[in-house]
């Protein structure tokens, strides 16, 4: 099985852009219920930035650099909490793969873990605080475990998505502990965290790579 190259990374970026654009209204709705209702706008800005970024032929064959620069483009365009966390995730994942023209399953596992760590360092939240971390952390763990156990990328991605969705659903009954939603307090119990939802949407779009490309 060949690894992921820049062309495939670019295709994945475009899929993420389309998915964010498609889920704008849903994300706005969720963010209205426990935040400031701008997550749809943020998603639209990220989608536009990624689309513009991937419009040109990649100037590098280095997957890591290509991904890190996508993160910087996202930060310039969308610097809300989630925009910044996702930009950080892309930059950290990219840094992990710097210098590689192709990334294999084990690389992807390290990249996902780097993204997870990056989000936690940047946002200073922990698993259980009811944020996107509760999607990305279990997703990264599940992917790494699957790869460790010898699963191929497609199978590992499947387990990653299951973990991501389960992570989102597991924190839905909880009270938000960080960010804007923490000011809403107990009224957040039972509501889907908008960042968790965005995390699932993005991971689904990334994972679709292996099937659609």
């Amino acid at each position: 099985m060949a690894g992921v190259d820049v062309a495939q990374a670019r295709a994945a970026i475009l899929r993420v852009a389309r998915a964010l654009e498609a889920h704008k209204d849903r994300l706005t709705e969720l963010d209205q219920a426990m935040g400031d209702g701008d997550l749809g706008i943020t998603a639209g800005k990220m989608a536009a930035a990624l689309t513009a970024y991937a419009a040109d032929e990649p100037a590098t064959t280095d997957v890591g650099t290509y991904l890190a620069q996508a993160g910087m483009a996202v930060n310039r365009a969308a610097s809300s909490s989630l925009g910044t966390l996702l930009a950080t995730a892309a930059m950290r994942a990219g840094k992990e793969a710097r210098g590689q023209d192709e990334v294999a399953a084990a690389d992807l596992a390290r990249m996902l873990t780097a993204a997870d760590v990056g989000i936690q360092e940047r946002g200073k939240a922990k698993p259980g605080d009811k944020t996107i971390i509760d999607v990305v952390h279990p997703a990264a763990d599940a992917f790494a475990a699957a790869v460790e156990e010898g699963a191929d990328v497609v199978a590992a991605a499947g387990r990653m998505l299951d973990a991501a969705r389960a992570g989102r659903d597991a924190v839905t009954p909880l009270r938000s502990r960080v960010g804007r939603a923490s000011w809403v307090g107990e009224r957040t119990e039972g509501l889907v965290d908008p960042g968790c939802e965005a995390g699932v949407v993005i991971l689904e779009a990334i994972a679709a790579t292996k099937e659609d490309t």
Binding site: D36, G37, D38, I41, T42, M72, N75, R76, A77, S79, S80, S81, G83, T84, L85, T88, R122, G123, V178, G179, R180, S182, W183, V184, G185, R187
Partner: protein, 332 residues
């Protein structure tokens, strides 16, 4: 509430364009990245002060860029954090060799981006210190005061830290003043009607014709609870009670007080509230020094007001009284 607008997507760009045309002697502009700095930046040999945050709060943030206050400001979209890159650009342009102090409100996006900017500035050997503004007593109980939002109280931090920098303080001293100021600062707001983010096109929240929300934040963040609209005296009393409980000044203490309109609420109503706040302080034996009544931190056309108290000692008083001159804040 209706707006005088062109393309909502050009709102911030056009606003900045007008601002720069109105104050060309005072402000300079990194147009491409929405970074505003003093026209004479960098001021060599002075600690530089930077802030940043979403637009829609004028005079916060950029209205306080000027002599005796801030050196620069990164300007985000309405209610949106600016990016780390914008903050870094401001940092570079204002650094006068003595380090840079970031003072800004405790909001997720801003914190993360200023932290990123700090890491980037470090790579360029610019020393940065950070002081978070967390003055809104309604946003978390005292035990979790580090979760509180930053609102109008930041103006006092800009003012006093700016005066300390002007007086030749080094980065640690200026940061210490900002921290001390904020330790002595508490704010609470009341909202009567929402505002509309131009790009969103609809009000940030809905509220009944006879309702108010004490403790609401300047982006419409939830307050203590939705209630029937009360009289000015009742509202002021409840707000002052919350502030005084938290700040706990002693008899004989001196405070500065800021009666701030969130936008639509007129000066007339602020003075009616101020009258009551003044009376409440008097009854507690707390003296008032240099009150501010007006619009200092707004949410565009939101109706409502906030009250900020700053407990003064001699050091803070002298810094508060120092002159300052920005497009929105002139104190001779």
């Amino acid at each position: 509430m209706k707006k005088i607008l062109n393309d909502p997507n050009a709102y911030v760009t056009e606003m900045l364009d007008g601002l720069l045309k109105a104050h060309p002697d005072q402000l300079a502009f990194a147009e491409d990245v929405h970074a505003i700095v003093r026209a004479d930046a960098p001021v060599q040999g002075k600690v530089a002060l930077a802030t940043g945050g979403g637009s829609g709060h004028l005079p916060v943030f950029l209205g306080y860029v000027g002599k005796g206050m801030l050196d620069g400001c990164a300007v985000g979209d309405v209610f949106q954090s600016p990016s780390a890159e914008q903050m870094l650009e401001v940092t570079r342009r204002i650094h006068g060799g003595k380090g840079v102090l970031y003072i800004y409100g405790n909001y997720g996006g801003d914190v993360m981006n200023f932290d990123m900017a700090t890491e980037m500035a470090d790579l360029e050997d610019i020393r940065v210190e950070t002081v978070l503004v967390r003055d809104d007593v309604a946003s978390a109980p005292p035990a979790e005061a580090d979760r509180r939002r930053g609102v109008a109280g930041m103006v006092y931090a800009f003012k006093l830290a700016g005066a300390k920098a002007d007086a030749g303080g080094d980065l640690d001293e200026v940061a210490a003043i900002a921290r001390k100021t904020l330790e002595h600062t508490r704010t609470i707001g009341v909202a009567l009607s929402p505002c509309t983010v131009p790009q969103a096109g609809k009000p940030t929240f809905t509220i009944g014709e006879d309702e108010m929300e004490i403790g609401m934040g300047i982006h419409g963040e939830p307050g203590m609870k939705r209630e029937k609209l009360q009289t000015a005296d009742e509202i002021t009393e409840r707000m002052m009670d919350a502030l005084l409980d938290d700040l706990a000044p002693s008899e004989g203490d001196t405070v500065s007080i800021m009666l701030n309109s969130l936008g639509a609420t007129p000066h007339e109503e602020l003075y009616i509230m101020f009258r009551k706040a003044h009376e409440i302080l008097g009854a507690r034996g707390v003296k008032v020094h240099r009150p501010y009544v007006g619009r200092f931190a707004t949410s565009m056309e939101m109706a409502g007001a906030s009250i900020t108290l700053l407990r003064l000692d001699d050091e803070l008083k002298a810094l508060l009284d120092a002159p300052a001159h920005s497009p929105f804040f002139v104190q001779p």
